[in-house]
Subunit: 253 residues, 2 copies
Amino acid sequence: MITVTLIGAGNVATHLYKIFNNTDQVLVKQWYNRTLKPIERYKTKLKITDCLEDLKETDLYIIAVSDDAISELSSALPFSDRLVVHTSGSASLYDLDMKHKRGVFYPLQTFSKDVDLDFTEVPICIEALHKPDYKFLKELGIALGCKVHKVNSDQRKALHLAAVFANNFTNHIYRIAHEICEKDSAEFDILKPLIKETARKIETVSPYRAQTGPAKRGDKKTIKKQLKALDNSTHKAIYDIMTKSIKNTYGQR
Amino acid sequence: MITVTLIGAGNVATHLYKIFNNTDQVLVKQWYNRTLKPIERYKTKLKITDCLEDLKETDLYIIAVSDDAISELSSALPFSDRLVVHTSGSASLYDLDMKHKRGVFYPLQTFSKDVDLDFTEVPICIEALHKPDYKFLKELGIALGCKVHKVNSDQRKALHLAAVFANNFTNHIYRIAHEICEKDSAEFDILKPLIKETARKIETVSPYRAQTGPAKRGDKKTIKKQLKALDNSTHKAIYDIMTKSIKNTYGQR
């Protein structure tokens, strides 16, 4: 049985708690957060605390807080030589205090408090300073039913940046599509099969080959009509730069 | 049994042929294209022709060609008072010659020649000048197993524009994510569960509520780091405008 300490109470920490709780092989023994309120409802199941000094020894400490707070928190932990990981896509392994065995356990998914997630669909990107720690984290990921990937810091940063495009920007584009529909009282729901198929398609075809549409075809007439139809200047600017970028990719003028 | 004439040999016409062929209730009797080569392999199953004058009467004529060619082709059809539809998202119903009974049969999906499609996942947007024609097209859509939607010209144009965002731009964003990964030898495949979940999430939550990430949080430090990490000026410009647009949406500065 692996004993774990959770540090932080955001989406990642909360989802990790849920998945740990569903596994025989992991026991979350204690949970720290700077305020107790968000973790208060777990107090019958484990020790909760807002005081780092109270933390006891466990096999693993998971720091799931904002990037800015990782370094300070890891230094303030009242012990050394234990395995301490953070869950950030962009923070360095070296942001953790060197008194610890250091690692990264980065779940590359989009977490929302109110949307449940199938953890077998969560890739975990693992990095560790020492081989035995890497092996330990890998086995933990597998025990959770996740797909585990060995990813160094540069790769992790690239994945995190790519994820901002693939998730944040994509979702915002859905949002713009939603606005465009609403303006003309068209049902956004009609687009949902298209959105699903767009994501599904690249499971078998590269995004480069999957591209379709007026920009790829160089269909100037449609592009002009659509730019004219957009009355939000930011949406216009996004249409324009995306169209140019697609044209460049496929050698259209 | 509904008899159909197909006009054009692009992705939409080819996919429509496949789905018609799988239904007892529809018979594709003839297929016109300005060149025979793309449809030659169907000649044992139906009449193919590159001469409009050769076309016989059928219950329905489907013009699935580029927007620019719809008007001329519909005028050149050697008969009148038959039901003629186009499949375009942006062309007007009135682009069809007024000698016909006019309609629109717009499948809102992304079609690729080499990717098979589940037609129950294809919404068909229908418009017709006359009620009986609308009813006829609706029943055809239902016979194909599709979801059928009554959509007027303004709504269809809005949906088509929204689809350029939701499909073309989204796919291009996948492409950029792919490039970012490749540059640091990170596996693009690790992002696929995230891409799938991003699309899945909005089936139950609005895109507005599903948004996450540094721009929504107003996390200036991460935004600055990521902008610095992008060395492609177009990708930088896309990151910048998308970030600004998200910030505006959520009142971040």
